[in-house]
């Protein structure tokens, strides 16, 4: 069944060209700019200049500190939750699963605004503490605020990866430890956790990169002495020619690549082939009553923290003022009225950009999946690798790369400059979200057994007809899931968006929220717009789960051979 239709080769080349122009090209431009002087000669002077600015050294240290500390606290939150779900008979497991998706539904920078109101210096919690006990917790101050917000936003990445890893450990691994006299903490530290390291490292490195690259949260919390905000400020205030911004981009890219390569290397280094060799999963143990109490205490505590920004945003959107008071006062719908008159364009822009980007993603993702899995075109893996590059690329870097690489390039038909048009959003979103769509498409296609295509071929159908009549319908569930994932993650994107928004009429919702949160008066409408965005994302998440579930019957068709 593996045959290389000339049309498919042409498509493969076209996709490769698209990725080179809109992914590799901009990145290389960034790297080139960081390493050359005005005449195009190689130089290391920009990096030396970077190192000589004390603010830059401070920002670098801060970014490392924030990312590292966030990973640490996210680990502390995630480990007990993951262990509880996988190893114990426990009704709260559903709660933990909810915990695993809830934070991701709301973009971190949105959560940051709400957390200010609840945990900030004059937020609800500190007002209560101040009034009753005479002290306050400076948890939202400076870097702490970012660590707090990002920890609660990103711990699910560790939770999900670690749970998956724990679930594959053969029960006998743990039982052998018990049999030899180990239990409790020792057993966990020496056996269970080391065996789950692959999943943990995957999750932790993802959290590290995400926090290290994040632009929205620091900006909303007004923290600028970190790398990502510095790159942004440099490029937007000093100008697109300022080399320091590019130096920062190169550092961000290097860290992303190092984190990904590091996690890959770490997992490769040790031989885990034996971990899941047949065997049953451990029978889930029962918790003793005090363990149950502790477990629920932990879960409910985390759940309350995780829910607090959601609740905060909701309250903010429905009340007039919320400042220097424990709870907001004066219920109102005026914020919603405001956004449906002022921000209608932004909502529409989001739907347009993200819809188009997601559509492009499943077309390209589907084509790549088909080419990689079903053909023997030489070099087809390169497409897969190129898309992986997109996964490692910070949005900020790609945004700056676009501004630099495409400056002065005009669109045809008098649509103006590429970087100042809506087209750039669609391209940027589609490139960054392509890895998600590709993963869905790959999964969907692997579930379509080649025999189903061969059967169609056997009754005389041509390649195009087979793809159209057999492959696409059978992949539909996966394609739709990919579409939704691309759409919702693009809708929540902020780093690229801030950089690429050249005028307000072109801005999508995420930019609108960011803009509203810049002023105290804008908090209400910003919250209302957030509620709309969260509703869309939550709905999308739900739909994609349903679609993934609905796709299962195809899987059975494919496997029954």
């Amino acid at each position: 069944m593996k045959r290389n239709h000339p049309g498919l080769i042409a498509i493969a080349i076209a996709i490769a060209a698209f990725l080179f122009i809109f992914l590799i090209g901009p990145i290389l431009t960034v790297v080139y700019t960081a390493f050359t002087d005005g005449q195009g000669n190689f130089t290391f002077s920009h990096f030396l200049a970077f190192a000589e600015i004390s603010l830059m050294r401070e920002s670098f240290a801060n970014s490392l500190y924030v990312a590292g500390t966030t990973v640490f606290f996210a680990t502390i939150i995630a480990i007990p939750l993951a262990y509880l779900t996988v190893r114990f008979q426990f009704r709260g497991a559903v709660l933990i699963q909810t915990l695993g998706v809830l934070p991701l539904v709301m973009p971190a920078f949105v959560g940051a605004a709400a957390m200010q109101l609840i945990f900030g210096r004059s937020g609800a919690v500190n007002l209560i503490l101040m009034d009753n006990f005479g002290f306050s917790i400076p948890i939202m101050e400076g870097l702490n605020g970012i660590i707090f917000v990002e920890t609660l936003h990103y711990f699910p990445f560790i939770l999900l990866n670690l749970s998956a890893s724990l679930a594959t450990i053969d029960s006998s691994m743990e039982e052998a430890g018990q049999n030899l006299g180990a239990s409790g903490w020792r057993l966990f530290r020496k056996i269970i956790f080391p065996l789950a390291i692959p999943g943990y490292i995957a999750g932790a490195s993802l959290v590290f990169i995400k926090v290290f690259d994040d632009l929205g949260t620091p900006l909303v919390l007004n923290v600028t002495n970190m790398l990502a905000p510095q790159a942004y400020l440099r490029v937007t205030s000093i100008g697109i020619e300022d080399p320091i911004g590019y130096v920062i981009c190169v550092i961000l890219v290097l860290f992303s690549i190092a984190a990904m390569a590091g996690s890959w290397w770490f997992v490769k280094r040790r031989d885990y082939a034996l971990v899941s060799r047949g065997g049953a999963q451990a029978p889930k143990r029962k918790l003793t009553s005090w363990q149950t109490a502790m477990a629920y205490g932990w879960i409910i505590g985390v759940l309350m923290l995780v829910l607090s920004p959601h609740l905060g945003i909701l309250l903010m959107s429905f009340f007039k003022v919320w400042s220097f008071s424990v709870l907001p006062e004066q219920f109102t719908l005026v914020h919603y009225a405001t956004i449906f008159t002022d921000a209608k364009q932004m909502i529409w822009n989001t739907i347009l950009y993200c819809g188009l980007a997601a559509f492009i993603d499943i077309i390209i993702g589907g084509a790549i999946a088909y080419i990689v899995i079903r053909t023997t075109i030489p070099g087809r893996q390169i497409l897969d690798h190129l898309v992986t590059v997109a996964l490692a690329m910070p949005g900020l870097v790609l945004g700056i790369g676009y501004l630099r690489a495409f400056r002065g390039i005009d669109l045809p038909f008098g649509m103006g400059a590429l970087t100042a048009s809506w087209v750039i959003f669609v391209i940027a979103y589609s490139v960054r979200r392509l890895p998600y769509a590709l993963r869905s498409c790959m999964a969907a296609l692997t579930q379509v057994h080649p025999a189903l295509e061969e059967a169609a071929e056997n009754v005389g159908a041509g390649r195009t007809r087979i793809i159209r009549k057999i492959v696409i319908p059978l992949m539909m569930g996966g394609l739709l899931a990919g579409f939704v994932t691309s759409f919702i993650t693009a809708a929540a994107e902020i780093s690229e968006t801030i950089l690429l928004t050249s005028r307000e009429s072109l801005a999508p919702m995420s930019y609108g929220i960011y803009l509203y949160f810049q002023s105290i008066a804008g908090r209400g409408p910003g919250a209302a717009l957030s509620v709309v965005a969260i509703t869309i994302v939550a709905l999308g998440t739900y739909i994609s789960h349903r679609l993934a579930a609905a796709a299962t019957p195809h899987q059975q068709v494919g496997n029954r051979t």
Partner: protein, 359 residues
């Protein structure tokens, strides 16, 4: 090392509403090499895991060295178990694997080092202490698993299907090594297997289990020669089994079988119950040329050869007798040709070889 005995008294265990062990009573002598033999789902592994502490019985008592260990956690039992898949930890070296149990017991590091070395020496793995399990063959992994368990000097050694992941040749060799190791250490050992040959060749005594019940306990020979019921007769070795009724007729027993027809049994057999199975091993069947000879002390039957299989040492014939089929293993001598299908034969089975077993 002091050998300890195990007493299992009226133990019952259910997972939810499924009864997995029903009233198990068993006494394992100090230093004994004991097998739990049965098909999958018979409860043998559950019983082993119960002794290790991974399953908790809901009724009955479990005594190790005279002490009731019911409710004692697995890590406090000092009962060593070798897992079917060996369960070696891939992130630790061979030496670290073996040292694990000793470290859990907080022994001084010099003592740990010497115990690890001697445990690995015991299984001939001294040279591979710094390898990781992924770099070892299946047989080597198993040796390490045994060394890891023996290093903690357990009171009892539990082996869960230890040979099932090895190839046929290695299995025989390892089996013999296990027997020698057990003799040398004198440690009370329980061996779970579904393979009757493994159990018969290694163990002092065997408990045959089915459906959560111990069907019979005995030495390998006792089980083979005197199976108490249909299950044991069939599970241990091959057997010809015929349900029917026994009726006393003078000094004879008459056996009425729906398949074989009515048979006169040789004199001297005692009636135990009227409804039982008549059982005899295929190798106990002889063919005779003269239909008039050897009636005394023999069951005499007449049949037609239906089929034959050449198995090297013997030919296995399938002989139709009445409506039934009898398996007959006839030793092969060089150059002899198998009897053709359709030929009539006269069969004799010595009365000592006839067994009555309950269904």
């Amino acid at each position: 090392m002091k050998s300890v005995g195990i007493e299992i008294k009226n133990i019952a265990l259910a997972f939810g509403s499924t009864a997995v062990l029903k009233d198990i009573t068993l006494s394992i002598e100090p230093g004994e090499f004991f097998a739990l033999l049965g098909p999958s789902g018979s409860g043998k592994s559950t019983l082993l895991r119960l002794i290790a502490g991974f399953n908790q019985h809901q009724r009955g008592e479990l005594l190790i060295d005279g002490k009731d260990v019911t409710g004692i956690q697995p890590w406090l039992r000092n009962v060593g178990m070798v897992f079917q898949n060996y369960a070696l930890w891939p992130h630790m070296t061979v030496a670290q694997n073996v040292a694990f149990g000793l470290e859990a017991r907080k022994l001084p590091s010099a003592e740990i080092r010497s115990k690890v070395a001697s445990a690995l020496e015991l299984v001939d793995m001294g040279g591979l202490a710094n390898r990781r399990p992924g770099q070892l063959s299946g047989g080597q992994q198993q040796r390490v698993a045994i060394a890891r368990t023996l290093a903690i000097e357990p009171q009892v050694l539990l082996l869960d299907e230890p040979l099932s992941n090895l190839d046929a040749k290695l299995r025989t060799q390892t089996r013999q090594e296990l027997v020698q190791l057990q003799r040398r250490l004198g440690i009370t050992t329980i061996f779970v297997t579904h393979d009757q040959e493994e159990a018969l060749t290694t163990c002092h005594r065997i408990a045959v289990m089915d459906q959560g019940i111990i069907q019979q306990v005995g030495t390998p020979m006792e089980l083979f020669d005197f199976p108490v019921n249909r299950f044991v007769a069939q599970f241990v070795g091959s057997v010809n089994l015929y349900p029917g009724r026994f009726i006393t007729e003078g000094d004879h027993l008459r056996f009425e079988s729906p398949t074989l027809g009515t048979l006169m049994l040789p004199r001297g057999l005692e009636l135990q119950s009227t409804e039982m199975d008549l059982a005899f091993r295929p190798h106990a069947v002889r063919f005779v040329d003269d239909p008039n000879t050897q009636h005394e002390n023999n069951l005499a039957l007449k049949g037609i050869i239906e089929d034959s299989e050449f198995l090297g040492e013997f030919l296995r014939y399938e002989v139709r007798v009445g409506e039934g089929r009898i398996m007959a293993d006839i030793p092969h001598v060089r150059g002899a040709l198998p009897l053709k299908a359709g030929s009539a034969v006269h069969l004799r089975v010595s009365s000592e070889e006839l067994r009555f077993v309950t269904a």
